[in-house]
């Protein structure tokens, strides 16, 4: 997925820098060595309705999941004041967030309402995160994933916390590679429902599924640019799997790679849409390469590890799965310097990473005992959180823009 704000920062330490420089001086040192703001919801009055209580409960867990906050009862550096109540069929959060800056106090008004108490809580959490840290949150975002519990492989969607898992396709076939449209209201995926692989575009508001132009041979969806116009795909129509760009307006396709003796897959856009990263096995085993969008300037990015696959390019760099000593681990690499950092440690396989819109969290598939579930990791050090808990395998996550 493409996230905007293309600025590479060192993965660990950003929290301290932001907290120290631009915002509150008081930070708590959590047991996990992560610096967090202490936040209190004690001054947020909660109305008697069930929805208001659900909104308040979701808000608290959202703030914890954001990674920026530690919820406390008193003596907090951040206070949320106002009310969370039912108004007709809507839940309304009305008030302010106040936080200490040096000797003074800053505040920002909050006024969010909606019929869905969970969505309102997600939006309030992201508003608080934005106000206090200056950073984008990820509570009000969604994750596309593939599930195999029906015996077939279908596309599902869930909230950023794994809740409200919903089946979206019913192809009774094999689904592959879901990828979001730039607006977060549509996605593409590859289906074998008509015997041969084809890419479909799904509108999430209307649930309408539209077939994109079908090319001879392999058709695999890759990634849609942040402008929403250019879809990266893998096609074999010229006799070998190569990377192409499909213009989603006039459906013209342009070939990017020309590697007759190699296999290319998993293309993704850089956040600014000028470059692409993809997997190629032109050195024998799969590794990640970067090139300009016309295929020029091709260079090998990942120089360590037996195999490097599944790139996703976010503001903090490219996350990918690297096979070392027989295990796949999630790494993040600076596309300019080539400096990489391992993000997972457990002796199990970690694959298919996808950046959250906050540019901080990463969702991935964790396989243990031949069973795969989705987990979320924090590039700034919070413990991993498990997202899926149902029967079957859950994999190929794509976090919304």
């Amino acid at each position: 997925m493409i996230k905007r704000n293309c600025r590479f920062s060192v993965v660990v330490g950003l929290c301290v820098a932001i907290a120290g420089v631009s915002h509150a001086q008081i930070v708590i040192r959590d047991s996990s060595t992560v610096n967090k703001f202490s936040i209190s919801l004690a001054s947020l009055k909660v109305g008697p309705s069930k929805n208001a209580a659900q909104c308040r409960g979701t808000l608290e867990s959202d703030l914890v999941r954001s990674g920026w906050f530690k919820v406390v009862k008193a003596n907090a550096s951040v206070d949320v004041t106002g009310s969370c109540s039912q108004n007709g069929t809507s839940v309304v959060v009305s008030g302010a967030v106040k936080w200490a800056v040096g000797a003074g106090v800053k505040s920002a008004a909050i006024q969010i309402s909606g019929k869905d108490p969970v969505r309102v809580a997600h939006q309030v959490s992201d508003a608080i995160t934005r106000a206090v840290t200056g950073q984008r949150g990820m509570a009000d975002s969604r994750i596309l994933l593939i599930g195999s519990r029906s015996g077939k492989k279908e596309i599902y969607i869930c909230d950023s916390d794994g809740a409200r898992l919903t089946q979206l396709t019913n192809d009774k076939s094999v689904a592959l590679a879901p990828a979001w449209g730039a607006n977060g209201e549509s996605f593409v995926y590859t289906s074998f429902k008509n015997r041969f692989p084809a890419i479909s575009l799904v509108d999430l508001r209307t649930r309408k599924i539209r077939g994109l132009p079908k090319f001879p041979g392999l058709n695999t969806a890759g990634d849609i640019s942040s402008s929403g116009r250019d879809l990266l795909m893998t096609l074999s129509r010229d006799g070998n799997p190569e990377i192409y760009i499909l213009d989603m307006k006039n459906f013209r396709s342009t070939r990017v790679t020309r590697t007759r003796d190699a296999n290319e897959a998993s293309p993704v856009w850089s956040p600014d849409g000028r470059q692409i990263a993809y997997v190629s096995d032109s050195r024998g085993s799969p590794h990640i390469y970067i090139s300009n969008r016309d295929g020029s300037g091709r260079r090998l990015l990942t120089k360590e590890g037996r195999e490097n696959v599944s790139p996703d390019w976010g503001p903090k760099g490219i996350v990918y799965a690297s096979r070392r000593f027989g295990r796949y681990h999630i790494y993040v690499i600076d596309p300019v310097t080539g400096v990489s950092k391992q993000l997972t440690k457990a002796d199990v396989d970690h694959e298919n990473p996808s950046w959250a819109p906050d540019g901080r969290h990463v969702v991935f598939g964790r396989t243990q005992g031949f069973h795969t579930d989705l987990y979320v990791l924090d590039t700034m050090g919070d413990p991993q959180v498990r997202l899926t808990r149902l029967q079957g395998d859950w994999y190929s996550p794509a976090w919304s823009p």
Binding site: L176, G217, T220, R237, G239, P241, A262, A265, G284
Partner: protein
């Protein structure tokens, strides 16, 4: 174009290199020379053959499930057609010669190791290598289609070396 008097010294060099190193110099390990080059005799290298076409309606007829053509196996992460598989391919071209109205979908598969997106491309390369071989045997281009299922449809549900060996394959679906 290679002329006759240039081919012989090149072949001699290859044979000498093979004797010295114990392996054919154009193996997959030596791919890091020039990623853009089209080399000769390389794993799964596809000679200049007609581009792929969209499947005709014949490929959407019911599958002839009574026809059993043995699947071709592949090495790990490889698209090279092994000499052990040649008789299976000969059986496919014989079948197509004897059944002139039939068409075949060559379906490439991979074992479960590696990413799903990489594997679906690898399976397509396996199917394309088989397609190129069959075209070389005289099978008409319009009677062949490729399809890759990547690692999604294993023949053996196990997670052992022997299961993986069964799963790295190209199957033949007759229509």
């Amino acid at each position: 174009m290679l002329t006759k008097n240039r081919v012989f010294p090149m072949l001699a060099c290859l044979i000498i290199a093979t004797l010295f190193t114990g392996c054919w110099p154009f193996s997959k390990k030596d791919k890091n020379l020039d990623p853009m080059a089209t080399t000769i005799g390389e794993d799964g290298d596809i000679p200049d053959i007609p581009y792929l076409t969209n499947p005709s309606e014949k490929f959407f007829r019911p599958v002839k499930s009574d026809v059993v053509l043995e699947a071709v196996r592949f090495g790990y992460d490889s698209t090279q057609i092994l000499s052990s598989e040649m008789s299976k391919l000969a059986a496919v071209s014989t079948y197509l010669r004897d059944n002139a109205g039939d068409v075949v979908i060559v379906e490439g598969h991979c074992d479960e190791r590696g990413s799903r997106e990489y594997n679906v491309a690898l399976g397509e390369r396996r199917a394309l290598a088989v397609r190129a071989f069959l075209i070389g045997q005289g099978v008409s281009v319009d009677r062949l289609q490729t399809r890759s299922m990547g690692e999604e449809v294993p023949a053996d549900m196990g997670h052992t070396e022997s299961a993986w060996r069964q799963n790295r394959r190209a199957e033949f679906e007759i229509h």
